[in-house]
Symmetry: none
Subunit: 249 residues, 2 copies
């Protein structure tokens, strides 16, 4: 696949941006542990784990990309070494279920409900990632990508519906101070996650090919990852801090 | 582009100086966390994040520069590998909004005012960085650099005006002990930030070209970064320590 120098630069710097953003976010969440009460520490630890795992994978993606292409005298050449697409999927397999568990943990549901929702939503998230993978590696605009993408949408829709209808009653029971914030966090999940299928199907929707398709996919996933993990994490942090303050008062 | 051996040495050592200064500053801020009260911990965590992100990018800039040039037997040769200018912009995109948030956080405004000012000033800062980038990569003394630079000055001026007029009332309400320090920190922002457009437009102002222009730009940005992030951070640290002491008394 051919990449222009401009496309190479965009992808290269998006990956480096991901590394910096995720490790910085991780330190932010973990250094803030002393600011939240006992009850919310696990939520904050997991929030930092999600960005830590993402930071590790962005380092790997960055190295893999650097090995797959060289840019000398403004000319980008493919070295023949494969660019490992699977890093993203390994990352999501670990982080996406954890992301949902973060949100469940700051809602302080009953213990049995926390476990039940973590298992069903986390399991659905893992299934969604596993089903998307065969389509991603199929390599282009074809019926394989379409079929696995469509299968992957089933658990995706189940998660969105559960976040909306299943958690609405619990949100109504939250303290007034954080109700808006929890509802906003739920929206960030839905909006940022909706971005993934759009990027996944972008080659179809926009009839993109080659370097342009790769640039759109890599930049799109990077932005979606940062919103879904780091920005969402900051909201979880704010919810945990406010609830801790309310409990101390 | 040609670099003399002296120019190569100056740039190379400026980048290494940046790495050392930023990681040292990061450790200073985070090791000081136990010295400030609850209220100022987030400000100090973010102060350290800014220098951590900068340290990461100076490591990357240093590596990129080392790959782009070799100095053998006193002769500097360009290897053809591109020197990635974008690292600075990726860094600023993350750190500049955070720098303003540091200052807002130590002022202990009301919660809604903190969120509002963080969003407007942080957003303006991000816009300023994004608008400057196309001019920087345009590659020299031309109208493209001038136009994007000029556009980038609009949010820059908005930030300076807000820091002066918008925050004056809040500064008057600060405890007497820190009022001078907060006002000084605001001045450090304005003076160190003014350095960036000067460096940006230096090729025009001084009609510099080639290696001399690159040396002035790289050394200038490095000094400005250290003042705006590490020196400014030390002031934020002092404000947080003094306010914590006053509250304990």
């Amino acid at each position: 696949m051919e990449l222009s120098f401009g496309q190479y630069e965009i992808i290269y710097n998006a990956f480096s941006f991901g590394v910096a953003a995720f490790f910085a976010a991780t330190l932010f969440f973990w250094l803030g542990l002393s600011q939240v009460s006992h009850k919310y520490k696990t939520a904050l630890v997991i929030t930092g784990l999600v960005t830590f795992i993402a930071g590790y994978h962005y380092l790997r993606i960055f190295s893999s990309f650097s090995e797959a292409y060289t840019a000398v005298n403004g000319v980008v050449t493919s070295t023949g070494v494969a660019f490992n697409v699977a890093y993203r999927y390994v990352d999501w397999l670990l982080t996406v279920p954890l992301l949902l568990i973060e949100l469940i943990l700051v809602m302080s549901l009953t213990r049995s409900e926390t476990v039940r929702k973590s298992v069903t939503l986390g399991g659905a998230a893992a299934l969604m990632v596993v089903l998307g993978y065969p389509g991603e590696v199929s390599g282009g605009i074809d019926s394989t990508r379409l079929m696995w993408g469509a299968l992957s949408m089933i658990p995706f829709i189940y998660i969105v519906v559960t976040l909306f209808s299943g958690l609405s009653a619990s949100i109504a029971k939250q303290p007034e101070d954080v109700r808006g914030l929890i509802s906003a966090a739920r929206w960030v999940v839905i909006v940022s996650w909706s971005f993934y299928p759009v990027v996944y199907f972008a080659p179809f929707i926009m009839s993109l090919e080659g370097g342009t398709a790769t640039t759109v996919i890599e930049l799109g996933y990077t932005i979606a990852d940062i919103v879904a993990k780091a920005v969402f994490g900051v909201m979880i942090f704010m919810i945990a801090v406010r609830k801790s303050e309310a409990e101390r008062a």
